[in-house]
Amino acid sequence: MKRSIKQNVWQVCIAFAAIAGLLVLFVKAQAVDPDIHNQVVSDIVELQKRDTELGEAVLQLHYRLANNYDAVTALMQRVGTLADRIEAHQNKGWLPDSPEARRELAELRVQIERRRNWLDEFKSGNAVMKNSLIYLPSMVSNVLALLPHETEATLEKFEFLLRDALLVSVKGDEASIAQLALDINRAEQAIPGLPVKAQGVAVYVVRHAQTLLSVDRIMPGLLADLSAYKGEHLAAGLDRLYQAHYEQQQRTADIYRLFLLLAALLMLAYSIFVYFRLKVQRQQLEHALAEISNQQHALNEHAIVSITDVKGNITYVNDKFIEISGYSTDELIGKNHRMVKSGEHDQEFFRDLWHTVANGNVWHGQVKNRAKNGRYYWVEATVVPFMDQEGKPYQYVSMRTDITRQKAMELQVQSERRLLKNVMDTLGEGVYMLDQEGNCTYMNTEAEEIVGWTIEEVVGRNLHDILHAQRPDGTRVTADQCPIRQSTLNKKVYRSEAEYFQHKNGTLFPIAIVASPMIEGNIVTGSVAAFQDISERKFTERELLRAKETAEAASRAKGDFLATMSHEIRTPMNGIIGMTELALDTEMSAEQREYLNMVKSSADTLLNIINDILDFSKIESGKMELELVEFDVRNLFVSTEKTLAIRAAQKGIELLYDVDNAIPDLLVGDPGRLRQVLTNLLGNAIKFSEHGAITLRMKLLTQSVEGLCVRIEVADQGIGIPADKLAHIFEAFTQADTSTTRKYGGTGLGLAISSKLVAAMGGDLSVESQVGVGSVFGFTVTLPAAKNQLPEAVCDELAGLSVLIVDDNATNCQLLSQQIKRWGMRPIVAGSATEGIAMLREAQQENTPFDLLLLDAVMSDADGFDFATQLQSMPQKPAALVMMLSSASLRADAERCRQSGIANYLSKPIDRWELMNTIKAALGVQVEDVSVAPAQLASEHSLNILLAEDNRVNQKLAITLLQKWGHSVVLANNGIEAVEHAGRVDFDVILMDLQMPEMSGMEATRLIREQDQLRGRHSRIVAMTANAMSEDRQRCLDAGMDDYIAKPLNTEKLRALLDGIESADVAVKAPVYDYRAALNTADAWVVETIGQAFLDDCDPQMAAIDSAIKSGDRVLLMRGAHTLRGLVGNFNARKIEEISAQIEQLANVDDLLSASGYFEQLQVEMALFKSSLIDYLENK
């Protein structure tokens, strides 16, 4: 401010000086105004002119050339006026004010005055003179007339008077005037002597003459003056002076004008310069203005702007202000700003605001305002005072942004925070929050109670150090080591129930804690954790654990008991049943046979019961696992039915099966357990039916990625189950009726087991039943289809052949028909014999005979065999006939078939493979023998079997069976013997019982495997065990066993197993060491040198080792083996080296038994080596 005032004063001074200077120049540059100059000059010139004219006019007057005095008077006046004007010019300064000039002028005035006076004199004198000259002659003549008598002298006086008067008027010189004066005197003197009449006139004459004379006296002087007039020269002098003055003035004026011109040019140049600079400045300003305008626009777009004067009255509002306040511009301008006051803020608030801005400071704050419609809004406001030159505010500019939303959110956040705090306080769990360093920022009241510290005591301090620094074992844990901290720092949630916190009083207590990191962006800003004091829970847990362990122990004990019992029970059962079967195979009396059959059936029943109970226990203890193997579902059904077929046929019940065509042949599941369930269900169905048919059905429900969802049902036409009993039917040990048990027998566990088995498969066994009508037991499971299905059996030869099916069982007809169709043949169904006959006749008539006839043996309206006989008599009978026999009377019917000449027959339920083959056979098509005839017992090969079994009965049983089958058996009573034998001889298969004294099967297996490794072979070890639990099986496999067979021994299974084993001589041998190759690598010279010697010495060496073993001479054995080792080393026969080394080692530890085993191998190897060496030496 001050600087600008100083600047201003400075600038103003310069300006004034410049103005003054310029004015001075300008004024000085004024040449004499040309008008003035002209005026002065013209006046002077005119003065001269008029003066000259005046002189001329006077002369004219004098010489009587003018009539009146107007001209001279006017000229005189003009000259006087001009002189006055020139004097006025002098006074105005138009004439130089020098003493010379002043003198000239004064002189001029004087001259002019003199002229004027002279003229006046002249005019008056002239008039008189003129008149007198007119009068004098007449008067004189009058006088003379009146003087007739007077003397000549007297007359002459008057005549001379007249003459001289005239002369004077003409000449006007001194002489004339003097003469006239004389004349007048003489005349005057003469008057008294004149007559009285003439005296009066004479007096007049004299008077006139005197008047004339008086005038004449002056005239010469006047005329002299006239000639002496110098006015012309005077005016000229003035003129000269003036001209000189004027020229000088012009010159001065010229100089000033020049300066002025220069100054003007300078200023012009400066102005031009300024102009161009201004242009630039203007552009800059415009640009800045545009920028500011844009900024203002941008500001206006964002901010709510208002401007007030110092009193707070609004002078300007922008659009945003109008928008948010709801008022219009008119309503706002001029009003005080407090019109938007909301009442939220107190007086103090506004006082502070005004105080701040009034002092020239910027005020920031949040203000709540009220809009026109009553709505409240919050703004973040900045009020800026604008100061004037004196540093006092003259207006206030407010810029605001609408923060109503933020404020609302703030309030909401605050209320939410309060809510959160309430929640946290009510949680019942301790909650704390830490910052990045692990310092506590918050703890809820529950936490305070748990740890004993108050929030004030811990806030800001490292919580770990306070609570978590010590482990129960006394070790200290630093914050960096704290797992909670580490986890949260790694952005992971930490859950634990193993941590301990320290109470304020020092005691440690276990806590369950969940700690989460608080992440913002990608940085961990802290953590929040919830924890509970779990001392009580831990205690409870420990108790529970103990209880669990106890229970587990009990369960294990139970399991072990079961396993043991299972084995203990089954073993004697095995013996009973096996022996009984063997006995039945021998010759005996009918009575004996009867008794033994009863024994066998009792034993079978008992075994079933035991199996059921054990199964049930197994299932109850959850120790059952399902297999996942591929199985042919249709085959399963048929075989299951076949086992029960006889029982069903005995009761006159048909067994049917129906598998949905869409279901593929091979499914994956546990066929054993399925069979168990189906057997149970079918068995029940047979048990509780008196007539009708029992159908085993599998329907495809849906197909998915997991597998085929199928429904398996067993439907019977039996007695049914009353509704009230349905619910309990699957419970253990219950039957529909206690009487049922008596009538039908059974353990009551079957359905319970089946139900559990089905549940294990993922299904749910259910039943629908109507008393007197029948029951349907069903369950739904999902079984995956096997990856590789059996190829569809399509027989081209069968395609298109017509088949007549005659069977009274509609279901059977349908099943057959479907299957026939699948094979590409054309089935026709006849539901009875009568119908069949009719169809045959029809065919015959039409000359389209059937290619094949499938005939049921037992029909309601006819006997099948009779039908067949009838057929014989028919012309054009079907080419082939297949008789379908029921299982009940299979033997007898089979006999009848043979007698009737019916070559091809099947027993129901019909296996489709059987059907296919039988049809082919009937039609004469080559039959592949896919299935193995069950009746065959003769084995194709004989195996070398080692039997490790401690039980005498089982020993006997097994040996008998095996030998019956043509195998050779070596017996080991325990594991040790088994190992011994296995070490000495290579058996095709070792049947290893697991439960043996001295050494268990497992241990023996382990040792045998070790031997195997040394000997480079692999013994096939099959476990025999009463432990049917799958983990036992697995344990066997883990122990190194190859297979597993359950006890009591299933003959067929055993048979199958053995059949699968090839005899030793066709078994794949272990890789043989190539001694020839080894010899090639040895030093040829050495080999040649000592080869033959070795060969010669070889046998005695071996014999020595043998005798050493037999005599038990350890030292000798060692020495022998050592020597041998060295010798064979020359030939690179590594294998022999190793074996020798092993023998040496064994000899060292006095294990001659094992050594002898190795010796046998040695012998074998040596034989091989010898032949190679001989070969080598011969062909070197």
């Binding site: 201003n8 600038q11 103003v12 310069i14 300006a15 410049a18 103005i19 310029l22 300008f26 040309p34 008008d35 002209n38 005026q39 004219e53 003018a66 009539n67 009146n68 005095y69 107007d70 001209a71 008077t73 006017a74 000229l75 006046q77 003009r78 006087g80 006046d120 004199e121 005019k123 008056s124 008039a127 008189v128 003129k130 008149n131 007119i134 009068y135 007049y204 008077r207 006139h208 008047t211 002025l260 100054a263 003007a264 200023m267 012009l268 400066y270 102005s271 300024v274 102009y275 201004l278 242009k279 400045q281 203007r282 300003l285």
Partner: protein, 351 residues
């Protein structure tokens, strides 16, 4: 853009513009300015007759004349607002008051016979003793004379300034407003407008020989013969020279009772030669301006002519000669505003 400049920049900028403007004006003023010309022409000098006719028109500023007329008739020029110029120089009475002596404020009697205002512009000096060189200078006399208007110029100016009409009128004509100079200028302009052309004699001089009858012509010839024409000549039939009264015989000796005023020009110049010398009065409209001479000693023209003849020419005029001359003198009455002054005289109020 000017507002963008700093102060000194602005200043120089403006100055430059002013200079440019000033120079332009100056340049143009040089060429287009019309110099103030004072047009003065020599009066027409007629060779034929010593008396020349009055001009028929004069180039006078009508505004000034009108204003002067109002002032001439305005009594506020006097101290007691009773006496105006017209009070003594009554235009209805031939420009005089018809009295031997004027009456001033408060009934004060003046010292001399009022000379006529008509054609006073053609007199070479004003007052009997010729002390005023111009009409403007003459106004100073009566305004300030204690026995005439008895006022002072400040008072007069004040009086006139009190009149808004005078204020505006003066402002219109004179930029300086109401000042003694402008008042005088206006009144003088009016007085110059009081010229009376087209008298019978003027018409005769212009060629209308029928304007005068034989007697009047004879009177004119006699006027010339006996020598009246020696002094009473020019356009105003006198008024352009001084002459002594009592040239041939002593006038005052016979009249007696000599007063200050009788000394004439001597009062001004103190020159003996100028004792009893007066400005020769104009004989135009002389028929209307009785009584005659400075002392109003001649009540009528006959007497005046007789006195003139005796004392100035030394001639005893016969009555018929006097009559003829008087008849001639009557033909010198001119017209004012198109109307003959003689009509005004006769139709004007008799005093």
């Amino acid at each position: 853009m000017v507002y963008l400049m700093r102060f000194h920049q602005r200043f120089f900028y403006i100055l430059a513009i002013l200079l440019l403007a000033g120079s332009a004006y100056w340049y143009f003023s040089l060429t287009t300015h019309v110099p103030d010309q004072d047009s003065w022409r020599m009066p027409v000098v007629s060779v034929d007759e010593p008396i020349t006719p009055l001009p028929l028109t004069l180039n006078l500023d009508p505004n000034k004349v009108a204003l002067g007329k109002r002032l001439f008739n305005d009594p506020r020029l006097s101290a007691d607002n009773t006496i105006s110029c017209a009070s003594c120089h009554d235009l209805e009475r031939g420009g005089v008051d018809g009295r031997p002596r004027a009456l001033g404020i408060g009934g004060a009697v003046g010292g001399i016979n009022v000379p006529t205002v008509f054609n006073s512009g053609f007199n070479f000096r004003q007052f009997w003793d010729g002390r005023a060189a111009s009409l403007e200078d003459q106004i100073d006399g009566p305004v300030q004379h204690p026995k005439e208007m008895g006022s002072t110029w400040p008072k007069v100016v004040e009086n006139l300034k009190g009149d808004s009409a005078y204020q505006s009128d003066f402002k219109q004509i004179y930029p300086e407003g109401i000042t003694p100079a402008t008042i005088k200028d206006a009144i003088a302009s009016f007085e110059r407008s009081l010229y009376t052309p087209n008298s019978k004699f003027d018409r005769y001089l212009r060629g209308e020989k029928n304007s005068l009858d034989g007697e009047e012509v004879a009177g004119y010839h006699l006027f010339k013969e006996i020598g009246c024409i020696a002094c009473h000549q020019g356009v105003n039939v006198g008024g352009n020279m001084y002459e002594k009264i009592g040239l041939v015989e002593n006038y005052f000796e016979q009249r007696g009772n000599i007063e200050q005023v009788d000394l004439g020009r001597f009062n001004i110049t103190k020159n003996e030669e100028h004792r009893y010398e007066f400005r020769v009065p104009s004989l135009r409209n002389v028929a209307l301006t009785a009584p005659y001479f400075h002392d109003a000693s001649a009540v009528d023209l006959k007497k005046a002519v007789a006195i003139m003849g005796k004392f100035q020419l030394g001639v005893d005029l016969k009555p018929d000669e006097i009559d003829r001359i008087v008849k001639f003198l009557n033909t010198l009455t001119g017209e004012y505003e198109g109307r003959s002054l003689s009509q005004a005289e006769t139709t004007g109020h008799e005093k």
